[in-house]
């Protein structure tokens, strides 16, 4: 019982963080699947969503500000794709990646400018921030809601991709960009849709994540962003179930390591895991095997 009491909070926190990571990791994996681009700015979009929430909830009631945050984040993701990635569609892949790094730099500096470099206190969301206790472990309700909400969203997304026309177009584009275009698929609108979905999920993730952590800084998107990318690679980049499973594994492992008192290494562990998986199975858990044609 004492073991349960000691380790349950960490495991619960792990599952919850894993769910939040999963929502961000989906954005990475979908964009990579279609554009073959590591969207380094995605973590900062996630941070920006947190910032929007801080600023909007200061003047508006939560019932309005939450939908507004989702909307603004989606618009932000859409604009980033149109302004920073679309003009470079025929450029070498490295240019696009550098453009992504530039966007990330810009978003962080904008956040720095608007906050003055101070950590902003994230608003308390009623009901979600309430504390509950299960098996005598005390935690916030958001910890319990996150995995459920994540699963619902992921199942919804999978249905969307499997059973709608847009979803079919997405699968086609990620399979073969050029051929999809020849078949009359509007590649640009498919890519925009991908960014919209990715940003929406990142915004939901940020609502859940920052409710747990209580403060937002301009750089608080960096580390979660990288970890979620690692999660996406771990699960096999391009695969949505892979990203979700990878995110849960990383979230839980990270919190267990924190629970063991190795907090310094909780970030490093993620990357060690990444390097091991890249060396043993470079395509990740569920990735498709890619063959290089000469």
């Amino acid at each position: 019982m004492s073991f349960l009491q000691n380790s349950l909070p960490y495991i619960l926190a792990g599952i919850s963080v894993g769910g939040q990571y999963a929502l961000i990791a989906i954005g990475y994996t979908m964009v990579y699947g279609i554009l073959r681009l590591i969207n380094f700015a995605h973590g900062d979009v996630f941070m920006a969503a947190g910032m929007f929430m801080v600023f909007l909830s200061a003047s508006l009631p939560l019932g309005i500000s939450i939908p507004l945050v989702l909307l603004i984040t989606v618009v932000l993701g859409f604009i980033i794709e149109r302004v920073a990635y679309k003009p470079l569609r025929s450029a070498p892949r490295m240019s696009v990646m550098i453009s992504a790094i530039g966007v990330s730099y810009l978003l962080q500096n904008c956040a720095l400018y608007f906050t003055g470099g101070l950590a902003k206190v994230y608003p308390q969301l009623p009901w979600l921030s309430d504390t509950v206790s299960i098996f005598s472990a005390v935690t916030k309700r958001v910890t319990l809601i996150t995995p459920i909400l994540t699963l619902v969203l992921v199942i919804g997304l999978s249905m969307f991709i499997k059973h709608t026309k847009v979803g079919m177009a997405m699968r086609a584009v990620s399979k073969d960009f050029e051929t999809a275009r020849l078949m009359g698929i509007k590649v640009n609108s498919v890519i925009s849709t991908t960014f919209v979905i990715g940003s929406l999920l990142a915004a939901v993730g940020s609502l859940l994540y920052f409710t747990n952590y209580a403060s937002v800084t301009p750089t608080s998107g960096g580390m979660p962003g990288l970890k979620c990318f690692v999660a996406a690679v771990f699960g096999g980049i391009g695969s949505i179930p892979g990203a979700v499973i990878g995110a849960f594994i990383i979230g839980i492992a990270e919190n267990i390591i924190k629970g063991l008192g190795w907090t310094t290494f909780s970030d490093a562990f993620t990357f060690a895991l990444l390097i091991v998986i890249l060396l043993v199975k470079p395509t990740g858990l569920f990735g498709e095997k890619a063959t290089d044609k000469v």
């Binding site: 003055g116 990357f271 060690a272």
Partner: protein, 383 residues
């Protein structure tokens, strides 16, 4: 014959220009106030130039997209700080407050600098063994991961007796402690940075122009063709990775000398991104481009755009200018360069006297454009 003569003349010009640059620096340092921001920018600029060139060797000349530079700078900075810290400081409480320092000796500035590079290179050799089998994005993310692991490792409690844990290292031999050999006269600090970086960059240039450099470029352009021509891919990639890390280590050590304090928390991924942006702005695959871009980058970041941060400069009662606005403007400039001038300042070209001559003869290619137009018109008329 004519060509060779020209080439010899050009290298003579280069040597003269370099000597003139060092002479001007020396005169400036002896006459101007050493606290001037110009010297700060020059010092930091030349340190970043070295690390940018070392990254360019990997990314631009060998085609290995690596994002581990900050990690190797971290190794260099720590190695330098720990080795060059006098034993008396190590034994006292002033730096190693919570640990007993395990390193019982100290070295001079030059041996410490050299060892900083060598230890970074050894780490790189070990990391390179598994990582260099990966390609493009995966290589980038794996090297980035290793840089993060290194950062955690240096902050680890168990490493405390060596690295002082997550605490600051200071009171080692910094730039003000550099003296002219065999005397106690202080060496001009900016000149010292320029000399060390200059020698390192010269070595990299020589390497790129050697047969190894040509092998690197062959790997960049087409790995399979290079392998078919008998180039040992892994050996050359590893060589490029190790050499690049060696110089990143030295530049990290110089950064430590320049800053007076070192802390692992500083060497984040953001630092690697900054260096990558410098390389891109200068032009991937251009040494001179990297050098010019790093001076511009540091000057804009630390000096020229400062006025944007002063709220007293606001006009029309708008409260736009305040702390942090400089960085916003700066990142917008970077985005514009990345989007519209994706080749950077120099593209893949290098600075050359021929280029200068052509520029003086025909600035901005206006004449050539007109000639081309006329030739086209003539062609149409001829038909």
């Amino acid at each position: 014959m004519e060509l060779r003569k020209n080439k010899r003349k050009d290298s003579l010009y280069t040597v003269i220009a370099l000597i003139a640059m060092f002479a001007v620096l020396l005169v400036m340092e002896l006459t101007m106030k050493s606290t001037s921001i110009l010297f700060t920018v020059l010092k930091k600029g030349v340190i970043y130039a070295l690390v940018a060139v070392s990254m360019n060797l990997l990314n631009g000349f060998t085609g290995l997209f690596s994002l581990g530079q900050a990690g190797f700078m971290l190794i260099g900075a720590y190695t330098y700080a720990i080795l060059s810290m006098p034993v008396s400081v190590k034994l006292s409480e002033s730096v190693y407050k919570y640990y007993d320092c395990a390193i019982g000796f100290d070295l001079g500035i030059l041996p410490s600098l050299l060892l900083a590079g060598i230890i970074a290179a050894i780490f790189a050799a070990l990391i390179g063994l598994p990582v260099l089998r990966l390609k493009s994005d995966y290589l980038a993310i794996a090297t980035l991961g290793f840089a993060e692991i290194l950062r955690a490792f240096f902050q680890w409690d168990a490493m405390g007796p060596v690295t002082n844990g997550a605490n600051v290292l200071r009171q080692y031999r910094d730039l003000t402690k550099v003296t002219i050999p065999f005397t106690d006269i202080p060496f001009p600090p900016t000149l010292f940075c320029f000399l060390v970086s200059g020698i390192c960059i010269a070595i990299i240039v020589l390497l790129i122009n050697s047969s190894y450099g040509r092998a690197f470029k062959a790997i960049r352009d087409d790995e399979i063709a290079a392998e078919a021509m008998g180039i040992n891919l892994f050996k050359h990639k590893e060589l490029s990775f190790v050499i690049s890390s060696f110089f990143a280590g030295i530049s990290g050590a110089m950064l430590a000398m320049f800053q007076y304090t070192v802390q692992a928390a500083q060497f984040k991924t953001a630092m690697t991104y900054e260096i990558l942006l410098i390389v891109v702005i200068g032009g991937i695959g251009s040494i001179t481009g990297s050098c010019i871009a790093s001076f511009l980058f540091i000057a804009c970041n630390e000096w020229w755009l400062r006025f944007l941060d002063e709220s007293s400069n606001n006009i029309l009662g708008l409260n736009i200018l305040r702390s942090g606005f400089r960085k916003v403007v700066f990142s917008i400039i970077i985005m514009i360069i990345v989007l519209f001038f994706s080749k950077g300042i120099m593209g893949e070209r290098e600075f050359s006297w021929n280029g200068i001559r052509a520029f003086l003869h025909d600035p901005f290619g206006l004449k050539a454009k007109r000639l081309k137009k006329e030739a086209k018109a003539g062609e149409v008329n001829g038909k």
